[in-house]
Chain length 139, copies 2
DNA sequence: CAATTGCTTCGAGTTACTCGAAGGTGAGTT
DNA sequence: AACTCACCTTCGAGTAACTCGAAGCAATTG
């Protein structure tokens, strides 16, 4: 099964711009061209792109992903380094999730706060609780 | 209590560059200067910066954060819009956490896979399972 | 057969930093 | 007093990872 760049973009949930960017930067080395020079993606390309998307979404830089790809192409002796890279990515992603959950708590608090303000329409807000200094003091 | 830019950077876990960037772009309107033109941050500035950091970390653009700040300075009649903004941020952050958890599962799989490869040293890897097409086919 | 669709490359633009150079100020040392 | 150090300043340039638009080619469609 082969796909056009738009089909791939749709499937992967990323833009065609990003796919071309990844391809131009050597991250999709197996993508072929048809007789009109259009990119032709196979399922195997999708699988590799899936890893790229995963690593990018979890914050790995393009440069590092390229390094990872190079390792994968270098064969089994690079497995330990690839293992270390994935371990690091795993740890960073766990931390990122924790951070996001913490930030979400802050946002939840804001939502509840505004909901309460809207609930009792015309509130006794002496001090707007989301501005620490009053607007008037800004001078 | 007042703080220097470095103290604030330390406390908030961001760079002094970012803080200056936010200040230059009008996102910290209450920060004062001392007699040598150095920025002086109060606790109230830290609280506001904390919201900026939270919103940035959860993917809100600087432009949108500026809009949110403007709303906050415009008083209580903007509470409904601020509420909507926070609701949206809440939903997006929940989705982002879900996506990250999904990506984490992929990474976990990779880690386990490499661990297994390293366990039985010298594996019968006919096909390197993390490269879908063989390196030799790349020509 | 002209218009539309969908791809191509190329180069420029965008966001949100990130950094280094050049310079001012105050505190401490020689 | 002069020097050095630490810390701040502004300004302008650089970076990562897209993002977009223009110009052009090929196949399909009315």
């Amino acid at each position: 099964m082969s796909y056009t760049i738009h089909e791939v973009a749709e499937k992967m949930g990323i833009s065609t711009y990003s796919i071309r960017y990844y391809h131009e930067h050597g991250m999709l080395p197996f993508v072929q061209r048809d007789e009109n020079n259009n990119r032709v993606f196979e399922d195997s390309d999708l699988e590799w792109l899936n890893i790229i998307v995963c690593l990018r979404a979890t914050g790995m830089s393009v440069a590092r992903i390229k390094h990872y790809l190079a390792l994968a192409q270098d064969g089994d002796e690079t497995v330990p380094e690839r293992y270390e890279m994935m371990k690091e990515q795993q740890a960073q992603t766990l931390q990122e999730i924790k951070d996001l959950q913490q930030h979400l708590a802050t946002i939840n608090f804001k939502v509840d706060h505004y909901a309460a303000l809207m609930e009792n329409h015309e509130p006794d807000s002496f001090i707007p609780s989301d501005l620490q200094r009053k607007t008037a003091v800004s001078h």
